[in-house]
């Protein structure tokens, strides 16, 4: 079953009057539920932009070339208001960032519970969900610690717990292993893989890291704002 379907995504950023960047030049991807997909490519290839559009953080440009289409769970996302997109991000998507991006004044459990509260869960229920989510990443015993008291790997696991707390169908990762050494990186990857297998959640991960690509079911390669290859791991290794 298809969870994400995108066609003709275009995005041009105007950096100054004379300098525009065509980050996406008509991208189409289809992602099935339960897949774990890596988006790879050199810097400036448009992979981050694609992730932002798929994650409803940015809208595709509507007005040049064929009309873009973005379906999430069969629903069109292109004409939603900021409020509607925010609600979908809160309730049906999870985000993991390269720099962990935990709120420094909050403990691990509060950081995780915050995402549940944004999704409309009451305080005490959000706290319970946060504990469960921290258990899932093996950090329930560190629940009361602030980010500054946790290692980088632990912080990223807290961020993953935060992304998972609302049991989203789609988790989007932006270089989730980018700030970790190879051992921690491998831990986080194993965790993501296990979560994907155990809970059937869909993962879309933007990465430079070939290890991540090798762990995923499928790799979409981008260059100059376009998809240059899209295939299962076996074909990917050859490419």
């Amino acid at each position: 079953m298809t969870i994400l379907e995108a066609r003709d995504l275009r995005k041009t950023y105007r950096l100054s009057k004379s300098n525009t960047v065509e980050a996406l030049r008509g991208v189409g991807v289809t992602i099935d539920e339960g897949e774990m997909v890596a988006i790879m490519g050199p810097s400036g290839s448009g992979k981050s932009t694609l992730m932002h559009v798929l994650g409803l953080l940015h809208k595709p440009d509507p007005n040049h070339g064929p009309a873009p289409e973005l379906l999430f769970d069969g629903r069109s996302m292109t004409d939603l208001s900021d409020r509607e997109r925010t609600k979908i991000r809160a309730t049906e998507m999870g985000f993991v960032f390269q720099a962990f991006n935990l709120v420094p004044t909050m403990s691990a459990i509060e950081n995780v519970a915050l995402a549940a509260e944004y999704a409309g869960t009451g305080r005490s229920k959000a706290r319970n969900a946060a504990i469960e989510s921290l258990e899932l990443v093996g950090l329930a015993d560190r629940a009361g610690h602030r980010p500054s008291e946790l290692s980088g790997g632990e912080q990223q696991r807290v961020a993953i717990a935060r992304a998972l707390v609302n049991r989203p169908r789609l988790v989007i990762g932006d270089e989730p292993t980018g700030n970790l050494d190879s051992a921690r990186s491998a831990d986080v990857l194993r965790l993501l893989r296990r979560l994907n297998r155990d809970h059937g959640q869909t993962f879309v991960i933007v990465t430079h890291d070939p290890e991540v690509g090798a762990t995923c079911d499928r790799t979409i390669r981008m260059r100059d704002g376009q998809v240059v290859s899209d295939g299962r791991r076996t074909t990917d290794v050859a490419a």
Partner: protein, 388 residues
Amino acid sequence: MRMLRNLARRRLRTGLTITGITIGIWALVVFSSMANKVDALVSGGSDYYAGKIVVSDGGFGGIGGQPMRLAQLDELSAIDGVDVIVPAVTMIAGDIQGVSFGPPDQVYGTPFGADQGRETYVPQLAQGRSLTAADEGGDVAVLGTSIAAKRGVAVGGTITLQDRTFEVVGILEPTLSTPDVTIAVPFTTAQQLVHADLPSVVREQVVADELATSFIVFPAAGADHEALAESIETQFPGVTALTGDGYDASVGSSVAMFNSIIVGIGLVSLIVGGLSVINTMAMSVAERTREIGVKRAIGATRRRIIRELMLEAGVIGSIGGLLGVALGALVVVLVNEAGRSSGTVLFELTTNTAVFALVFSTILGVIAGIVPAWSAARLDPVAALRYE
């Protein structure tokens, strides 16, 4: 709790901002308390003068003027529109030292029952009794609350005026106005006191029991007070006839000036406090740009971001307000206590003032938080996430 932790992130900056608001609110509270005291004095006077005309020979309301002749009472009552006339004797209690804020301490006497029930300004007794017709000629007194406190006497005690010893038979409830500093004695006693206080040249020409320092005229129903006052002044050259409206007009302008000072202080604290809250919140938004980006990305609505930050600004405002009110109250209490022995009660801090100052500073904080909160909510989450 989370909000307080956010505020605690930059203790110095938050502390300075709160200090700024505290000083503004402190000034607002102290000056408002002073204004409250002035207002109480003025409205006490206003209540006293309402519905009557006070006729005196110079001075203000009979204090410090030349003595009049009791015989003038008959001439006054002949004027059209005059209903009841009460002679009164007022003198400054000269043996009481110290500069005071508000009316000077004074001795006051009027014949018992002469107002025929027209006097509506009757201070309540706190203890003892009021003067009666039987006290006439006796050395008894009813004290205002400040006088009693200053001299440390209760009912049954004594006070001394011009080497005469007076028994205190009653003490009034506080009015925050002239009665607080008044020693009421029987009319004939007051006449004797005033007479003895006159310069010897004048004293030889008048007899004590023909003296009055002012007349309180209660106009007939329907009479035009202003017109009556005017005709009294025409018929008795040199005499001042002050109506209730006249009193209000003469003190109104000084009260208006005082109140505009308060408004000015309020405005200054609004601007200074408001700007420093805006500054603090704008800096804290800039510092937390990434955090705001993350919150937006993981599902915080714009409204939620605005609410979080405005609440934070409101807390800064209300903490500043609380401290300002507390410090203001402390100053008011300390200064009043220090001045009580000399009868100088400068301030009157009312609940209204305290509540207003608190609400004012909280709203100030919230409003000052709007602009930074709004700009935070408008951030593009992606750009905010990349912000270093």
